[in-house]
């Protein structure tokens, strides 16, 4: 029983020490101040370089020919010292060549200041503004600038200025830990264990508390002159492990509920029609249905064959029908499907398909349901 008490004391002491220690270092906005987070959502984000469209919960910005995207936010009067940290919820396909926070100050309204953002690339960027000597005074304009390959998208969800008070940090940390991680293609490779790029990673926090608690326990046991019990050390690790696992269980149940909503009670055909790649599945089914009997191979002419995801999925769904992605290889008797092919043209007069490489294929039309057109090479 004495060991259990020492273990409990050690665990509580480690928890308290790490929480107080972290907040002492991180709460630049003070322990007891209460300032709200300033949050700019997608409706606040205006493209002053590049183009934008709304898609679901995000606003997509596309870089122009120079690769630049500049997003401006509504002017507000912000006291810089009150907001030491910026958090950007945004994702890009390509790693930005450059990413910066831009601002203007009331004392020098014609001058634009900038700070480079270290780009993590997992959807949540975090920038410490307070270390920049120019982040001071009254801020009257705020923007972000990102340089990407020309035509690349940036999906913007929100930008927040964080007050970094003790209470706001605690709220932020707990909120990030509670974020349910839905399945994505990266999930089989790694898991964030909550929000991407969190202020404090939960496994690190739990591990640090466990290790420190064991160190405290060993010290207490030696001080009290009782032997160190491995069971107590194991119990401390188990307690921390259990906390992580309960969060993970809730996350799994969240994902299970999502899966149930999309797929439960459905046939495999209906499941694919409800899945995230439904457009590709529907295309595969449309091609399959349009083909004459006896066809075992189809050649696809499409701008989308450049995408490994599109091509791989379409090929998978079409099996045992074989999909070939290069129309220039098609020979007499083979079937060519044309779908979203901006550089393929049909010359009705000659009955030929003009391919992107300049080659011409003599074809007869088989039909197909728009947007798919099917041809047989003559």
């Amino acid at each position: 029983m004495r060991h259990v008490k020492l273990g409990a004391v050690a665990l509580l002491a480690a928890f308290a020490a790490l929480v107080i220690g972290y907040l002492s270092a991180a709460a630049e906005g003070g322990w007891f101040a209460d300032r709200p987070t300033i949050e700019f959502l997608r409706a606040d984000a205006e493209a002053i370089r590049g183009k934008s469209i709304d898609r679901g919960p995000v606003r997509l910005f596309f870089s122009g020919e120079d690769g630049g995207i500049v997003i401006r936010f509504p002017n507000r009067s912000i006291q810089a010292e009150d907001y030491p940290t910026l958090r950007l919820a945004a994702r890009t396909d390509a790693t930005p060549l450059d990413a910066r926070v831009l601002w203007r100050r009331a004392d020098q309204p014609d001058r634009t200041y900038s700070l480079t953002m270290p780009w993590v690339g997992d959807g949540a960027e975090r920038v410490t503004l307070s270390t920049d000597a120019d982040w001071r005074g009254r801020i009257i304009g705020l923007a972000i600038a990102v340089r990407l390959p020309p035509g690349s998208p940036l999906a913007f969800a929100s930008l927040s200025l964080l007050p970094d008070t003790a209470s706001s940090i605690a709220r932020e940390v707990l909120t990030e830990w509670a974020v349910a991680e839905s399945w994505a293609q990266y999930s089989v490779n790694y898991l964030h264990g909550g929000s991407p790029n969190p202020r404090v990673p939960l496994p690190l926090a739990a591990g640090a508390i466990a290790v420190l608690a064991i160190a405290f326990y060993v010290a207490l046991a030696k001080w009290r002159r009782v032997g160190v019990s491995v069971s107590v050390a194991a119990a401390i690790v188990l307690a921390a492990w259990l906390v992580l696992d309960l969060r993970w269980q809730v996350n799994l149940l969240h994902n299970l509920t999502q899966a149930a909503g999309s797929f439960a009670g459905k046939s495999i055909d209906d499941k694919h029609r409800a899945a995230e790649d439904q457009q590709i599945y529907l295309l595969a089914e449309a091609i399959r249905r349009s083909l004459p009997d006896g066809v075992t191979k189809v050649t696809l002419a499409s701008d989308l064959t450049a995408s490994p995801y599109f091509l791989g999925k379409l090929r998978y769904y079409l099996f045992p029908l074989w999909l070939h992605p290069r129309p220039e290889d098609a020979v007499s008797g083979e079937v060519v499907a044309v779908f979203q092919a901006s550089r393929v043209g049909l010359q009705e007069a000659t009955g030929s398909l003009q391919l992107p490489n300049g080659q011409s294929l003599a074809v007869e039309r088989l039909g197909g349901t728009p947007p798919i057109a099917l041809f047989r090479v003559r």
Binding site: Y190, A210, V230
Partner: protein, 470 residues
């Protein structure tokens, strides 16, 4: 045949695996029913793939009936031997090797019972939830539809294991394709959600096997339940079960089972465990090419276990000989190749700076819960027990596995695929179940020993009896 056909297919595989293990369990009582069921399920599925390959090679085709009949025959044979064995003198084989599963540890206080229910409940909910989502969700992760399932789909529709459409003969072992194919034959239709039900079942089998093997080294039901829960709680293993279709989870399961059996054999001396270890050590290469190396990592530990049992002088001779052999082999490889290749991986002398990747994935991201923190603490607190005679083989096995990972992370070109963290975690996933079981035996060995009694003795290599974990 639908869902009932799938259940029949998977049940036939499991029955064959269990029936093959029953004689082992009956011969020595060294295996608990949990271990028999867990090993039986994983072994039975692997056996099914071999039968399908055999039937195809013999020109018997890929019909459901041929494989089902073979599995039925094996089940009948196993049950027959299990029935015959207790009635014949060969049963006396087990005279020296009968691990006593901690009878004294069965005394259950209410809080222990509550905790046992909690951990068994958590593990059950985990596997059941994952199974449900696997049942619902169509094939999801990239390599599953890009590399693995295309072959399965081609074989399902062509019923020809030699058919690759000229594009998918990638040299990967066919075991997981054949598991998917076997499920599809049971279903009677192509259903790329339900054909993956073997993955959550494999995860459940690993949990059962861990429970049984923890009991075999003398852990109480509570500690065994914690071991099984910890094994099934690892997020990266869970993800590979729920987003099924990769070879990594089945490989992790059969390698983990081989490693657990080897450790239990090295501690208890039970020959049944040695048989299990050898049988399951042969399975990893059937799932993935790196499985060959994982199987080889068991060899040093087996040798150390033999050395521990040998007289001191003989052991010394063997040790010197093996070290000399390793040095000569290493020097030869270094002198001849400097940089040499194995599958896609090229070894190199200059190390990569991989520390950041490893720290991120092992300690900061949510892949392994606290596995690596726990290992660090355990090795620091229990260093003396880790190198004791009883645990030396297990520690060598752990060190060999870590060594293999370290070499592949620091001294091969695997870093070029690390942008998405895929290589690092899929390689580590194979090894993680072994680490969990090692933590179990190390913590158990580090407890103060109970006063000797009729049913308990201290944990010594090959003693055949074990101390319960309080």
């Amino acid at each position: 045949m639908g869902a009932a056909g799938l259940v029949v297919a998977l049940a036939l595989s499991t029955a064959a695996g269990v029936a093959l293990l029953l004689p082992l369990a009956i011969a020595g009582r060294g295996l608990s029913w949990q271990a028999v069921l867990g090993y039986g399920l994983a072994g039975g599925l692997t056996l099914t793939t071999l039968l399908m390959r055999g039937a195809s090679a013999l020109g018997l085709g890929l019909g459901f009936g041929v494989t089902a009949a073979s599995l039925g025959a094996i089940t009948a044979a196993g049950l027959g031997v299990a029935w015959w064995l207790p009635r014949h003198p060969v049963n006396r084989l087990d005279v020296t090797a009968r691990p006593v599963v901690a009878e004294a540890g069965l005394a259950r206080t209410p809080w222990r019972t509550v905790l046992w229910i909690l951990f068994v409940g958590l593990a059950t909910v985990r596997v059941a939830g994952i199974a449900l989502e696997t049942w619902w969700r169509p094939l999801f992760p990239w390599d599953a539809w890009d590399i693995w399932a295309p072959k399965t789909k081609i074989w399902f529709f062509s019923r020809d294991l030699g058919n690759f459409y000229g594009h998918f003969d990638n040299g990967y072992p066919p075991a997981i394709n054949l598991i998917q194919l076997w499920s599809s034959l049971g279903l009677g239709t192509w259903d790329d959600a339900r054909m993956n039900m073997a993955w959550p079942l494999m995860l459940g089998a690993l949990g059962l096997a861990a429970y049984g093997q923890a009991r075999a080294v003398g852990a109480t039901p509570l500690v065994a339940s914690i071991t099984a829960w910890a094994m099934t709680s690892l997020p990266i293993l869970n993800v590979h079960a729920v987003l099924a279709g990769y070879a990594d989870l089945p490989l992790a399961v059969v390698y983990g089972m081989a490693a657990m059996a080897l450790i239990v054999w090295s501690i208890t001396g039970s020959w049944q465990q040695l048989v299990l270890a050898v049988a399951f050590a042969a399975m990893p290469p059937l799932y993935k090419i790196p499985g060959v190396i994982w199987s080889l990592t068991l060899v040093p530990a087996a040798l150390v276990a033999l050395l521990v049992r040998a007289p001191r002088r003989t052991a010394l001779r063997w040790a010197v000989g093996l070290v000399a052999l390793a040095i000569v082999a290493g020097a030869y490889l270094y002198a001849r190749h400097r940089n040499f290749a194995l599958t896609l991986y090229q070894a190199q002398v200059r190390p990569h700076d991989s520390t950041g990747f490893i720290t991120d994935n092992y300690l900061i991201l949510g892949n392994y819960h606290l596995l690596w923190y726990a290992l660090l603490v355990a090795v620091l607190l229990c260093a003396r027990q880790a190198v004791s005679a009883a645990l030396r083989p297990a520690t060598v096995l752990l060190a060999t596995g870590l060594g293999f990972l370290a070499v592949s992370f620091f001294f091969t070109n695997s870093a070029q695929w690390w942008g998405d963290y895929g290589t690092i975690n899929r390689a580590t996933l194979h090894f993680a179940p072994l680490v969990v079981f090692y933590l179990c035996v190390l913590s158990r060995a580090s407890l103060p020993t109970a006063p000797p009694s009729r049913s308990t003795t201290t944990l010594e290599a090959g003693s055949g009896t074990v101390t319960p974990l309080a």
